[in-house]
Each structure stands twice: as structure tokens, then as C-alpha cells.
């Protein structure tokens, strides 16, 4: 067997088939080790694929050797390569850094099942990113969604259950809407393969089932991606999930839904539905601006650290949508770079939160007062992640903000308004990051609290690696930029 030809399949098969094995493994450290090994292998494969894609190699794969559209096709282009990097990277970092956190939050005997669900989540998300088949995407969406409900519900706080129930209902509605849309398109074109769909949808592009399908797919995926105002499920789900799970899912889960949204829209709809680009902008741009402003404002007033970061995620999804809603090369590039950079920043921040949670009882702001005295390394990593989130020069976040502002300014007078929104939101980000920093550095710990110790070294190492990656990609932004630019060119290439 030729390994390079099989890479794309192995990307999904390795984590997927490891899941049942992990479910049987005892003792718990073995389950963790096997999960981490599978995730790290997937990460290595994703890196190999990304490097190959950057050199212009195409990664296609025909499942069961059946030619598309009769069989299912996998295809990795620069856009999916970015997503695969984020998904497998986030999972690997969260597993390496989160072992001790999982130990404190989940009972020993339940850990093998927990890690099996983790691998299913990883395989599901990677399967979505690599697939070129509309129904296959749905199948892997089901796998990843079910797994993430299980993972979030694993939190020791009982409030995880109602919040995950809300997520389950919303997520199921979103997935069903997507399926209805795909069904309607299948009815009119007789195909499920995205590339084939693009060709065959052209002659029926003005008929009612296709128009309705475009609506259902967009709304359904927006719900899964927590696009404002459909984000109601996200803050509590992130807040009550086990900390390691928050690191994993906050870094990549909503972005995968955004990825399919963009891919479906640009590949299938944009050139075939009359005036679709204009409608896409009209609908998404106001929502993106609202998300940026409202969610940043909510974060500025939030007192629970994890929920604060979750609201900030809703705002960041707004940035990504804003770039895409410009429907031009610069905007999409900014969007995709931001998908990458925000994963880095949010991953670092939630890893630091997991460190804090190891030693502190409460993650409310008053609970972390004075934490920097006892946990200087953790808080310093948090600050680096926070700077990247705000977009300070020298961090990854700056790169994507810079590209986004440049893209937006190309829009003429409207651009200045959009820039104003971005600047206001960045200032709000300064406010909410500063509130955390101020509380941790300059307030005294609550009276009578036992002085906390610094987080365990193995967690700190991972948190700092993630933090330093933020700085690294702030200077050496070549890899994400070249991939994003290629991805954007590819998506724009589908436009007439």
C-alpha cells in the first residue's frame, strides 16, 4: 500500500477505528495514552497533508475505489488542510495538556468511554473537513455532534446537563435543516457529490426547491456555527464542559460548521443562483457586525471566566463571517487566516483556564483575584493568549485583524463603518481581557483563601507551547497565510 495515497483516508480512519479500542482499555492512563497517540498520529498526518497541499499537490481519495459521483469522494484542498490542522492540533494539545484536568473532573471508571467519545469527536470533525460528499458530511456531522454532546455532558457540574440538552436540540435542528437542504438538492440534481452538484445545479438554479435548499443549508449550518443570533446554545455549553473539552471544542467545533457553510455556499451556490453573492452579503454582514459588537459587549460584562471567553468566541465568529461576507479574495483570506489564528488564541486561553481550574475553586472573576501571585506562569500565558485575541502586533491575532481591516477598507465608504465596528470591538476585547488581568494581578486574594500553587508542570509546558505558537505565527505567518490565500483563491475561483 502506498502511504501517501492513503494519507487522506488514514486521517479519518486512525482516530475513528481507535475509538472502539480505547473504549475497552483499562487502566485509565492506557486509554489516555492510546487516545493521545491516535490524535498525535492524526496531527502528523494533517501536517504532512498541509505541507503537500502547499506545494500544490492535490489529495483526492475514492472510498471503496468507486469513482465519484457513484461512490464517496474525499478531497483535501488548502481550505480543508487548514481545518484539519486546527482540528487535530487542538485535540492533541488538549489531550496532552488536559490529562490531569480530566483526572480531576471525570471518575476513573468512566474515562475510557470519555476518551472513546473524544476520538469519535475528532474523527467526526476531521471527516467533515476531508469529505467532498454532501451526505457524507452529514453522517460525520452526526458522529461529531453526538460525541461532543457526550463530552460536554461529562462535566462535574450538574448544570452541564441542561446546557448540553439545549445544545443537543439546537444542534439537531441545525443538522436536520442541513439534511433537508441536501435532500432537496438531491431531488433536483440526483447527485450528492459537491463537485458534481456544482455542475448539475446550474440548470435548475432558479427553481423553488433549490432556493429553499440554499436557505435551509445556510440557516442550519449557521445554527451549528453559532452565528449571531443563533448562538444561544454556545456560552453555557462551553462554560460547563470539562475544561479539556472546552479547549478542544472551542478551538475547532464551530469553525468546522463555518467551513461547510462557506464551502457549500461558494462551491455550489454562488455561481448558480442569480444574485446569490449580493444576498449572502446583505444577510451576513449585518449579522456579523452585530455579533462582533453585541457579543464583545456581553463578554465585557460577564463575570464567569469561561463564559466570558465563550462570548468572545461568538464575536470572533462574527469576524470570520464579516470577512466572508465581502465575497472577495482579500476578505476570504482574512476570514480563513482568522479561523486559524483564533483557534490558537482561544486554545491558549482555555488551556490557561484549565491550569487555573486545577488550583482554584471558582472560575468567577472574584475567584481568580490575586491568582497571578501564586500562579505567575499560568497567568502570563493567559496574557499572551489575551494579547493575541485583542490583536496586538507580534501575535497571531494581529495578522488576521490586519488583513481583515485591509480587506474591509477596500469596500469604500461602507468600509470605514466596518472598520469602526472592528476597532470598537477590539477595544471591548481590551476591556474584557484587562478585567481578567487586573483581577488576577492587582487584586488581593479573597480573605481566608488557601494560597494556590502553580499549575502542574506538564500542563504549563503545553499552555506555554500554545502561547509561544501565538507569537511564532505572529511573525512567521507564512504557512497560514499561504494556505488561506490559496484556499480563498480556490473558493473565489468558483464565482463567475
Amino acid at each position: 500500500m502506498n502511504l501517501t495515497e492513503q494519507l487522506v483516508a488514514l486521517q479519518i480512519v486512525v482516530p475513528l477505528l481507535s475509538a472502539p479500542v480505547v473504549a475497552l482499555l483499562r487502566p485509565r492512563w492506557l486509554a489516555w495514552a492510546a487516545t493521545t497517540a491516535a490524535s498525535a498520529t492524526a496531527f502528523a498526518i494533517a501536517i504532512a497533508i498541509a505541507l503537500g497541499v502547499r506545494e500544490g499537490r492535490a489529495f483526492g481519495y475514492q472510498m471503496g475505489s468507486w469513482p465519484a459521483p457513484y461512490g464517496i469522494e474525499l478531497a483535501v484542498d488548502p481550505f480543508s488542510a487548514v481545518l484539519l490542522l486546527i482540528i487535530t492540533g487542538a485535540s492533541t494539545f488538549a489531550l496532552l495538556g488536559g490529562r490531569l484536568s480530566v483526572d480531576t473532573q471525570i471518575e476513573q471508571q468512566r474515562q475510557p468511554l470519555f476518551y472513546a467519545a473524544w476520538l469519535l469527536g475528532l474523527a467526526g470533525l476531521a471527516g467533515i473537513a476531508a469529505s467532498a460528499d454532501a451526505f457524507n458530511i452529514f453522517v460525520f456531522m452526526e458522529i461529531s455532534s453526538l460525541a461532543s454532546y457526550v463530552l460536554i455532558a461529562g462535566g462535574p457540574d450538574r448544570r452541564a446537563l441542561p446546557s448540553v440538552f439545549k445544545y443537543l436540540i439546537m444542534g439537531t435542528v441545525g443538522a436536520t435543516f442541513y439534511l433537508i437542504g441536501v435532500g432537496l438538492i438531491y431531488m433536483m440534481t440526483g447527485t450528492l457529490n459537491l463537485a458534481d452538484m456544482e455542475l448539475r445545479i446550474h440548470e435548475v438554479g432558479d427553481q423553488s426547491p433549490i432556493l429553499v435548499a440554499a436557505g435551509f443549508i445556510t440557516v442550519g449550518l449557521a445554527l451549528k456555527a453559532a452565528v449571531f443570533p443563533l448562538h444561544a446554545w454556545l456560552p453555557n455549553a462551553y462554560t460547563y464542559a470539562p475544561h479539556a473539552v472546552t479547549v478542544f471544542l472551542a478551538a475547532c467545533a464551530t469553525k468546522v460548521a463555518l467551513y461547510i457553510l462557506l464551502r457549500f455556499d461558494f462551491v455550489v451556490f454562488q455561481q448558480n443562483l442569480i444574485g446569490h453573492d449580493v444576498k449572502f452579503s446583505y444577510f451576513l454582514m449585518p449579522l456579523a457586525v452585530l455579533a462582533i459588537l453585541v457579543a464583545s459587549g456581553m463578554a465585557a460584562f460577564e463575570r464567569n471566566l469561561k463564559r466570558l471567553l465563550a462570548y468572545s468566541s461568538v464575536a470572533q465568529i462574527g469576524y470570520i463571517m464579516l470577512g466572508a461576507s465581502l465575497v472577495n479574495h482579500a476578505g476570504l483570506t482574512a476570514s480563513i487566516v482568522h479561523i486559524f489564528n483564533h483557534s490558537l488564541a482561544k486554545g491558549t486561553l482555555f488551556l490557561a483556564v484549565a491550569c487555573l481550574a486545577m488550583r482554584l475553586d471558582s472560575l468567577r472573576l472574584d475567584g481568580i483575584a490575586g491568582a497571578a501571585r501564586n500562579m505567575p506562569w499560568t497567568m502570563a500565558a493567559f496574557v499572551v493568549g489575551g494579547l493575541s485575541l485583542i490583536g496586538i502586533p507580534g501575535t497571531a491575532g494581529f495578522i488576521s485583524k490586519w488583513y481583515l481591516i485591509a480587506a474591509v477598507l477596500g469596500e469604500g465608504p461602507l468600509g470605514f463603518l466596518l472598520v469602526a465596528a472592528i476597532v470598537i470591538s477590539s477595544l471591548l476585547a481590551v476591556v474584557y481581557v484587562w478585567r481578567v488581568v487586573e483581577t488576577a494581578y492587582f487584586q488581593s486574594p479573597p480573605d481566608g483563601a488557601v494560597p494556590a500553587r502553580e499549575a502542574p508542570p506538564e500542563m504549563l509546558i503545553l499552555t506555554w507551547t500554545a502561547a509561544l505558537l501565538n507569537v511564532y505565527f505572529g511573525f512567521a505567518s507564512d504557512l497560514p497565510l499561504s494556505l488561506s490565500s490559496a484556499a480563498s483563491a480556490l473558493l473565489m475561483g468558483h464565482l463567475p
Binding site: 468512566r110 426547491p209 429553499v212
Partner: protein, 323 residues
């Protein structure tokens, strides 16, 4: 004639759906859901989708009803409070329905041979299957081979659901203040159901095996067979009590079936890779590609059946045995 049937069934379907939403008694809702599934199965059947109808009848009307009842036994029978925000929910549903109705304006007529779905991939499947795979049931060929990767995914959906239930119900329950009534040992004291049920169990399991092994020739396959066999085993558990059922097939064995079934499917896929084909390429399993396809399909269908049966039984026990 088929139109009359379809309209009749669809009308009943709407009535049942409204009744499910309106009733406040959860037990009634569960029973109505079973009726809903059965009507749905009938609908699928008159649309000539016999495979789907069989699945819907076994899973929707059979197993899920029992699992719902098991869940109800852990909670209460009555809905406690009306949800707020009904107006908004009704509004969203109304808009969705109107949009869906609009979507039907330009849709091809039911059964139109010129419809796009009958013009593109479907004719290729019908023409090529006898030659490439050599089995009469093209639906099985599509599910198990052409789109076998989707079916693998579905098996892992079932697996995810199973570990999800075991993970959540495996949590240490909160301390209970009032003692629960002593567990009943099935329907042991009810003579008629027991005698009739005991007679039925072996036939149900036998029918399940028939559906499993006949899937290449007629409607059926692993999903349906797994569900039907699970129904038989659940009936046994209901008649003889939880303990007897667990003694017959321990939970570890059931979970082993889930893992083993999923791995069997995956292993066949990997074997395709190792023998020089792509993942899930069965034609390399034998020197004759058509034979290889058939071997592959039989093996993965077995994996599906084992995994589905084990998963449904595990989920059932997780609810039924929780005190």
C-alpha cells in the same frame, strides 16, 4: 389507488403528530410515537422503500418505544410544566412549513421516470450492480459497497450513541432520599403474556437472522436484523426480568458486540488497504473482484448487525437496570 392510500396514511400521520405534541401524558406520547413510526413505515413501504420501512418498523416502533418506556420509568408520567415561548416556537414551525410547501412547487412529480434522481447515478447503479457485485438487491449494494463509507459512519453513530448512554448513566447517581419500590421481576406473574411471549422470542430471533443473511437478495441487512434480534431479546428481558436477561448475555458481552461489530467493519476496510486497494475496497479481497465484493458485503453486514444489536441491548439495559 396508491394516492388514496398515501393520502390516508399521511392524514393519520399529521393527526398523530399533533396528538403527540398536545398530550401532557408522556406515556400516551410514547405510545403515539410508536404509532407514528408504524405509519411512517407503511408510508415508506408504499413508496417501495422496503429496506427503510423494515428499519423504521423495527427501530422506531419497536426498540425506541421500549427505551422511551425505560426512561419514563426513571422519571414521571406527566409533563410537569408547559414550556414558555410557545408563540415563538409555533411561529418558527409555521414559517418552516410554509417554506417547505413552497419548495414543492417545482418538484418533479412523484414517480416521474424523467426526474433527475432517476436519470443520473441511479441508472448506473442498476446497470452496473449485476456485473460488478452480482447481488439482486441494489439497495444493499449501494449501502454496503458504493456508499459503504457512509454506512461505516452510521455504525459509528450507533456506537457513539451507545457509549454516550453508558457514559451518562454510568455517573454515580445522586443520593436518593426515598426508597424506591422493590423491582418487579418482569412479567413472571402474568401467565398469558409469558406463554405467548416465550413462543414468540425464538421466531423473532430466527426472523432476524433471516433478514441478516437474506439482505443481499431481498429487503433487509445488518441494521434491520440487529434491531429485530434486539427486539426479541428485549421481549425476553421483559418476560423473564432484567436479571435473567443479563445472566443470559452479560453486559460486558453486549458491549463487546458493539466494539467487535464496529471493528469488524473497520477491519474489512483496512484489509482492502493492506491488499492494495482503497479503504473499503472489497474487490481485492478475492482473486475474483465480484466474489470479493460479496465477501466484503457479507462481512460488513455481519459487523453492522452485531454492533446494532449489541448497542440497542446495552442502551436498553442501561435504562432498565438503573435503580
Amino acid at each position: 389507488m396508491i394516492i388514496v392510500f398515501a393520502v390516508f396514511l399521511l392524514t393519520l400521520l399529521v393527526i398523530t403528530a399533533v396528538a403527540v405534541v398536545r398530550t401532557e401524558n408522556l406515556f400516551v406520547a410514547v405510545m403515539l410515537m410508536a404509532i407514528f413510526s408504524l405509519l411512517m413505515a407503511a408510508n415508506f413501504f408504499i413508496l417501495d422503500a422496503a429496506d427503510v420501512a423494515l428499519t423504521e418498523a423495527a427501530v422506531g416502533a419497536g426498540v425506541t418505544t421500549v427505551i422511551f418506556l425505560g426512561a419514563l420509568a426513571l422519571t414521571a408520567e406527566k409533563e410537569r410544566s408547559r414550556l414558555t415561548g410557545r408563540g415563538l416556537a409555533l411561529g418558527v414551525v409555521a414559517v418552516t412549513v410554509l417554506v417547505l410547501i413552497y419548495a414543492t412547487f417545482d418538484k418533479p412529480r412523484l414517480g416521474d421516470p424523467e426526474a433527475p434522481v432517476h436519470q443520473h447515478v441511479a441508472p448506473w447503479y442498476l446497470e452496473q450492480t449485476p456485473e460488478l457485485i452480482g447481488i439482486p438487491n441494489v439497495v444493499t449494494a449501494v449501502l454496503a459497497s458504493y456508499r459503504g463509507y457512509d454506512t461505516l459512519g452510521e455504525v459509528f453513530v450507533v456506537f457513539a450513541a451507545c457509549i454516550g448512554v453508558l457514559f451518562l448513566l454510568g455517573a454515580p447517581p445522586p443520593k436518593r432520599t426515598t426508597p424506591r419500590p422493590a423491582a418487579t421481576s418482569g412479567l413472571r406473574h402474568h401467565l398469558v403474556p409469558q406463554v405467548v411471549g416465550r413462543l414468540l422470542v425464538p421466531f423473532i430471533v430466527l426472523f432476524g437472522l433471516y433478514v441478516q443473511f437474506h439482505g443481499e437478495y431481498g429487503p433487509g441487512g445488518g441494521f434491520q436484523a440487529g434491531a429485530i434480534i434486539a427486539t426479541g431479546l428485549i421481549l425476553h428481558a421483559l418476560l423473564e426480568g432484567e436479571k435473567a436477561s443479563i445472566r443470559a448475555i452479560p453486559r460486558g458481552a453486549l458491549f463487546g458486540m458493539v466494539v467487535g461489530g464496529a471493528l469488524l467493519y473497520g477491519f474489512v476496510g483496512v484489509l482492502g488497504m493492506l491488499l492494495g486497494g482503497n479503504f473499503l475496497d472489497y474487490s481485492v479481497l478475492h482473486s475474483d473482484p465480484v466474489k470479493g465484493q460479496q465477501y466484503g458485503i457479507i462481512a460488513i453486514e455481519a459487523g453492522v448487525g452485531i454492533a446494532v444489536c449489541g448497542a440497542l441491548m446495552s442502551i436498553f439495559h442501561a435504562f432498565a437496570a438503573r435503580d
